[in-house]
């Protein structure tokens, strides 16, 4: 069994799962000020992801730890190369995580407004920065023969990376507005619908552009199944605008966002980081992976725990499946 391929697939799945899940709570964070005009309405939007966001964020932590364990070379080069972006990302994630928890703890309008601003900014910045980094993996950054990053800040901001960042951010916003339309009641629901209708065509244009641009970086003309899935998903999200189609539209935005992220990894394989200096210096699954024994141990662990995680996380989504109304947050904490 090719354990390195197994782990590349798992890393891909973890990043994809992270965006599909945390994507909508990023979106809710970005948009809660737009869909909620009153404090209670904003609280309603935030509470729709209240029990879920923390579990969603663990996907990122596990994605990172899996790269460390399965591909130490990839983890080390990527994290030290994208250093400035990652500092900003950490600040964004810290600020929005604390904002979720602390915003409701005081009744003062100023306190809540400040946390709302931080929640919005953090939720916007986080997917953008991750997108820039993931895009950079495929577009290539200067890496020398000893797998060391040799560039500076400017080399990290590739136009392609920025475009990927923009695409996943808009997709996350659309995913979030769709989630809100699915999970909360009017008037927040109606405003979420309006936002979805505005965002869907923009996201569709961006994703189609992404598929074409990404294909131009690869050989051949056929983009493969995953990018096509992403495109179909986002087009379906444009079509499924009806007020009773929320669940299907949510599936569509999940496929679009997941497909976009997975496309990056599918196009990378068997490379994991492209060197813009010389393709001989590319980091690959082979030259960055852990030993077969370590990968085997981890495969057993993942085979036991990942299904369990999916089971209880799925159950938590089931428990909190009901649509929230303003009455739920009426008292306002």
């Amino acid at each position: 069994m090719d354990f390195a391929l197994v782990w590349f697939t798992l890393v891909t799945l973890l990043w994809t799962g992270f965006f599909v899940l945390e994507g909508f709570d990023f979106g809710v964070g970005m948009l809660h000020g737009l869909v909620g005009r009153t404090d209670a309405e904003r609280g309603l939007a935030i509470n729709s992801v209240g029990p879920l966001w923390d579990g969603n964020e663990v996907w990122l932590i596990v994605a990172g730890a899996s790269m460390f364990a399965a591909f130490p070379g990839w983890y080390a080069t990527m994290f030290s190369a994208f250093y400035p972006a990652l500092i900003l990302l950490l600040v964004a994630l810290i600020v929005r995580g604390v904002a979720f928890e602390y915003r409701g703890h005081r009744d003062s309008p100023r306190w809540r407004r400040n946390w709302s601003i931080l929640l919005t900014a953090g939720s916007l910045l986080a997917p953008l920065l991750i997108g820039v980094a993931l895009g950079g993996l495929l577009r290539g950054i200067p890496i020398d023969s000893s797998q060391e990053f040799t560039g500076g800040l400017v080399d990290l901001l590739t136009p392609y990376g920025l475009y990927v960042g923009l695409t996943v951010t808009v997709l996350a916003a659309l995913h979030g507005s769709t989630f809100l339309a699915l999970k909360v009641d009017d008037p927040v629901r109606a405003r979420a619908h309006v936002l979805s209708r505005v965002l869907a065509p923009v996201a569709a244009a961006l994703v189609l552009g992404f598929v074409v641009w990404t294909q131009s970086l690869a050989s051949g003309w056929f983009p493969g199944v995953v990018p096509i899935l992403a495109a179909v998903g986002v087009i379906a999200a444009v079509v499924l605008v009806g007020p009773r189609r929320e669940a299907w539209r949510f599936v569509a935005t999940a496929v679009a966002l997941g497909g976009t992220v997975a496309t990056l990894f599918v196009q990378l394989y068997p490379r994991v980081m492209v060197s813009s200096t010389n393709s001989a210096f590319d980091l690959t699954v082979q030259n960055t992976s852990s030993s077969p024994y370590a990968l085997k141990v981890m495969t057993v662990v993942a085979a036991v725990f990942l299904p369990l995680v999916l089971l209880y996380q799925g159950w938590s989504y089931y428990v909190f499946r009901r649509r929230l109304t303003l009455a739920d947050v009426g008292g306002g904490l």
Binding site: G43, L44, I46, N47, G50, P51, D54, G55, E57, V58, I61, V62, G64, A65, S66, F68, A69, P72, G73, Y75, A76, T77, F79, S80, Y83, P84, L86, I87, L90, I94, G97, V98, F100, E101, Y102, G104, H105, R106, Q147, E148, T150, S290, S291, Y293, A294, V297, M298, V301, F305, L306, V309, Y312, S316, V319, F320, R322, L324, A327, D328, V329
Partner: protein
């Protein structure tokens, strides 16, 4: 300051900060689960009110613990790329298992517990808080397994210039891990119990819900008295294990420059730190160091100078002595604060027995301020462990100065230190403010928890 010093400063700073919150989370999660269980069993509204009260403190604390934990995971790759390349094969596995097995559990069930009032059946809801506590304990286990490997590498072989895992079983039964993990769990229970005791004492002084906070004080003392004692005993046993694998760490923590037999324990001295081999010993206890380090009345403890010479022969010319001043005083700060906490707990236990805990204003006043002690204790404990490993990042295998990221310059590290420094100070002030505010609020009313109903409004927590 060189880049490696800055890297170390950043790692120390972010890790100490993170570990202010971690033991509170572990300790309070267990104690909140105990309160919740008491309510489930007895259906006494008092326990429900206490559960909600301390659960809120738990959540305020977890928020910072979780987000600062992200920094911990990222900065191995960011600041310590060569270290990550060298150890990833062994060290990465427990971190990944931690995420998969423990952190998912903790986070998902925290959401379920927090928002599950009246939506889950009481029994299932009780299980969710225990899952949070279990997840937190399990998470600490894998982190300690990874850390212990840096102290005493086992279950690996060197190949292609890196350490490769050969036995996960050996990593998970590393004697350093088993003792250190137990020690950390006990210290966390002590921390959580002290926080609960301090909050209860504040309310007892003001006679607000004195009956219920008296119960909370009793529960925290019931954890604190055996917990503090066990933490000290296990800590002392850990010392014996460490003397075997990292003798330099112990010699430095005692500022023991010359090999001695039998060795007396220096309770307090002036000097004896870096390069000062003739300290003015103020108070010494004969034989105690021999006993602590080797479990023998007349045991021999190797001195710093002898060990340094030995390492120079084994690993080549270098200075293998950690910062002795930091080592000596970390050891004492940790042990003395633990001792003080234990004495305070004994006093509290005696007052409880005499049914005078409500009246004793002095005890309650001191118990409030005692909340600072476990944080000093925990921080000093980590300084002792990590500073004592220097100059190694992995004992005997890799030096700290060889573990940094070649592509990350000094300016970048300084920028990130300033960024996290400012952010953490602000975060600390806000979190402390909220903790104090909520800790001083009276207990909430005894709202009945209705039978679970899908259609009933969800309790909005945010």
């Amino acid at each position: 300051m060189s880049t490696v010093d800055l890297d170390r400063f950043q790692f120390g700073m972010t890790t100490i900060y993170h570990f202010l919150f971690v033991p509170v989370t572990i300790g309070l999660a267990v104690l909140t689960a105990v309160l919740h269980t008491a309510w489930y069993r007895r259906r006494d509204d008092g326990y429900l009110r206490l559960t909600r009260f301390f659960g809120t403190l738990l959540v305020i604390n977890i928020a910072v613990g979780v987000v600062t934990g992200l920094v911990q995971e990222f900065q191995f790759g960011m600041n310590w790329a060569d270290y990550s390349r060298f150890v990833g094969d062994v060290f990465g596995a427990p971190l990944a298992i931690e995420g998969l097995a423990a952190f998912f559990l903790e986070s998902t069930f925290l959401g379920l517990w927090l928002f599950g009032w009246g939506r889950l059946s009481p029994r299932v809801h009780l299980v969710t808080i225990w899952m949070v506590a279990f997840g937190a304990l399990l998470s600490a286990a894998f982190i300690m397994a990874a850390n212990s490997w840096m102290q005493h590498p086992v279950g690996y072989q060197l190949s292609d210039g890196r350490a490769e895992l050969t036995s996960i079983g050996a990593v998970l039964t590393n004697p350093v891990f088993l003792w250190a993990y137990t020690h950390v769990v006990l210290a966390s229970l002590v921390t959580g119990a002290t926080v609960m005791l301090a909050v209860s004492a504040w309310h007892l002084l003001r006679r607000s819900d004195a009956d219920l906070f008296g119960r909370a004080a009793r529960i925290s003392l019931a954890v604190l008295i055996p917990g503090a004692l066990a933490a000290m005993i296990i800590g002392s046993e850990l010392g014996v294990v460490v003397t075997k694998y990292q003798p330099m760490k112990i010699a430095a923590s005692e500022a023991q420059w010359q090999t001695c037999q039998p060795c007396s324990f220096s309770l307090f001295q002036i000097g004896g730190g870096n390069r000062d081999e003739t300290p003015t010993k103020i108070i010494q206890v004969p034989h105690l160091l021999s006993l602590l380090a080797t479990n023998h009345w007349n045991g021999q403890v190797q001195g710093i100078n002898e060990l340094n010479a030995q390492y120079q022969q084994q690993y080549g010319p270098n200075d293998y002595v950690p910062n002795v001043f930091v080592q000596y005083w970390s050891m004492r700060s940790m042990a003395y604060t633990a001792g003080l906490l234990f004495l305070l707990a004994l006093w509290g236990g005696w007052l409880l027995r005499r049914k005078r805990i409500f009246e004793s204003r002095w005890f309650n006043r001191l118990a409030i301020w005692a909340v600072l002690l476990p944080f000093v204790m925990n921080t000093a404990g980590w300084m002792l462990t990590e500073n004592g490993r220097q100059p190694w990042i992995v004992q005997g295998l890799m030096r700290t100065s060889d573990g940094t990221s070649p592509s990350v310059g000094t300016a970048t590290v300084v920028t990130s230190i300033v960024t996290f420094g400012v952010l953490y100070v602000i975060l600390g002030v806000v979190a402390w403010g909220l903790m104090v505010r909520y800790a001083r609020r009276p207990l909430g009313p005894a709202e009945p928890v209705a039978e679970p109903d899908e259609r009933r409004p969800q309790v909005a927590t945010y």
